[in-house]
């Protein structure tokens, strides 16, 4: 079995994954035979033209969607063999999501949003609160704990979503265009936060982005076209200048 640098089982492994929507004339091959290995602690950026299958790939990685062909191994376990409930547990314990639309519960304070996954983990209220607070501190939003998402800026909302993944101690952070709605200054803040957390927590981060500047924060870049991986290479490590 081919081994790469880190030597252990990849956290995420795609083997000839495809995801086909519709049939016949209307058939769309959103993913078309993708092979991919992502190891523990990696920060991977996925780029590509619109409709190239980036979000579809993220959904499959996040066990929100099932591939129509191929094998997806998570930490060496074939996800296809898991029940719907087991996949929910996998999301609960290993995966954190940070999406473009800042997926926070509306009219719910930041702290409660961060607590949400801990509720499903069955953690008692005090400990939950403490861990959520700690996570908010790490993203620099401790003073905003009581604010509803509508009272937070886009960047702050995105940081709350990151704190939510941190509180749940997710190993893998999936970020689909996390800076899509942010100006470049806020975007860089988010990227710096991700880089810092990756270093501190040894998180695995998979991020979809349309911006080269953001992709540059990652250490590996996957370029997709028409549902296929066209390029997979380390990023040029030149820190972009932000004015």
């Amino acid at each position: 079995m081919p081994q790469d640098g880190s030597g252990d089982t990849p956290v995420i492994e795609f083997r000839n994954i495809s995801r086909v929507y519709g049939t016949g004339e209307a058939e769309v091959r959103a993913l078309d035979g993708v092979d991919l290995k992502i190891h523990h602690g990696e920060f991977v950026a996925i780029m590509g033209p619109s409709g190239s299958g980036k979000s579809t790939a993220m959904n499959v990685i996040g066990c929100l969607d099932s591939p129509t062909g191929g094998e997806y191994l998570f930490n060496g376990v074939d996800v296809a063999g898991l029940s719907q409930d087991q996949r929910a547990l996998l999301r609960r314990h290993y995966l954190g999501f940070v999406f473009q639309g800042f997926n926070l519960l509306p009219r719910t304070p930041a702290l409660e949003n961060v607590e949400l996954p801990l509720i499903y983990k069955g953690i008692p209220p005090e400990e939950r609160r403490a861990r959520a607070m700690e996570a908010l501190e790490q993203v620099g939003l401790a003073q905003r704990a009581a604010h509803d998402p509508s009272e937070l800026s886009g960047g702050q909302q995105q940081r709350v979503a990151i704190a939510r993944a941190l509180a749940a101690s997710s190993e893998v952070l999936l970020a689909d265009e996390p800076t899509g709605n942010l100006d470049s200054h806020r975007s860089v803040e988010i990227m710096e936060l991700l880089v810092k957390l990756r270093a501190e927590r040894n998180l695995t981060i998979v991020m979809v982005t349309h911006e080269d500047d953001m992709a540059a924060f990652a250490d590996r870049l996957i370029w997709m076209v028409d549902g296929r991986v066209e390029r997979d290479e380390p990023t040029r490590k030149e820190v972009p200048h932000v004015g």
């Binding site: 609960r92 999501f97 997926n103 939510r164």
Partner: protein, 403 residues
Amino acid sequence: MWAETIRLAIKAVARNALRSVLTVLGVVIGVAAVIAMVTVGQGSSDQVTQDVGKLGTNVLIVRPGQNTMGPGGSSTSARQFEQRDIDRLIAEIPQIEAASGAERTTMMAVAGNVNHQATVQGVTNAYLQATDWPVSLGRTFLSAEEDSGRPVCLLGETVRQDLFGNADPVGEKVRLKSLSCEVVGVLEAKGASSFGNDQDDTVMIPLRTFQRRISGTSTISMIYMAIEDGYSTDLAKSEIEAALRDMRRIGLGEEDDFSVMDMKQLASMLTGITSVLTGLLAAVAAVSLLVGGIGIMNIMLVSVTERTREIGIRLAIGAQARQVLQQFLVEAIVLSLMGGLLGIALGLGLAAIAANVMAIPFSPDPLVVLGAFGFSALVGVVFGYFPARRAARMDPIEALRHQ
């Protein structure tokens, strides 16, 4: 997790307070109707039992014909009784403590220039004894007055108040059509009867006087009897029935042409009428609960659609389908329980007011309250299940994309 789910549901319900209240209105009305009806029904049947208890559980009432008791009951063509029937019963059955024929009609009673419409009854002292009804002023009839049919009378408290106010009427004259009789006593106040009519609105004269001066016959349409304490009324009843069958020459296998009723029977007949009414109204309440349940289902469906994105988020961060189902189901149950509680409060309030107005006891039944509570929870489960299942079956990706 459960505590969390319930807390969450209460929060969700409270967030749309006005909408929630409007949604559960059907349940509130349904539950309130059931509680109010059952409580009032219970109160009135308690009242009947109380009244009957006051009358004495050892009292038997004999009437010609079958099933002629009760509100609106009228005697049939069956042969009426005579005084000698009563005398024979007393002679044959020593356990009869007191027995009196009774006749009634409604007449105008006049004193001076005051008129008053009252129930005029022809009875003997034995009637007062059987019904345990003493006088508060003056005296009862003398046996000479009973035997010779003297024009004397006893006034019920209502008649006394109307004709004489608080003054002592003993020795005064009261005219019943052409019969002018002397007041010899005033009966103690008894209050309303089980049928709701005022028992104190009466003038009593000796039975013989009634027969001679008012009805003009010697027949008797009702016999009141008190049975010796400690002797079984059931036993006395069958003895009386046997004696009457013999006296009235009813052959073997022929139906009785009279009826002997004890107070227990009378009570159960009266409460029977109430329970028919209660059943009818309970059906109305059931329809209202059904409508209420559909209202809850409707609003839960709206809520599930509104919160599609929330459902997507919950699924994405690791909620299992059944946890989402549970969340919305509990929310529907909280909603309907809220309706149930409001309904119980409203129903008990209405019943308390009704009991006050109708002068019957306020008898809330904890079992009925508990039942209403449980039933409203059931409404939540039944009508909340479909919307909750819809929420649980959502595809997380679709749900997250929902705007």
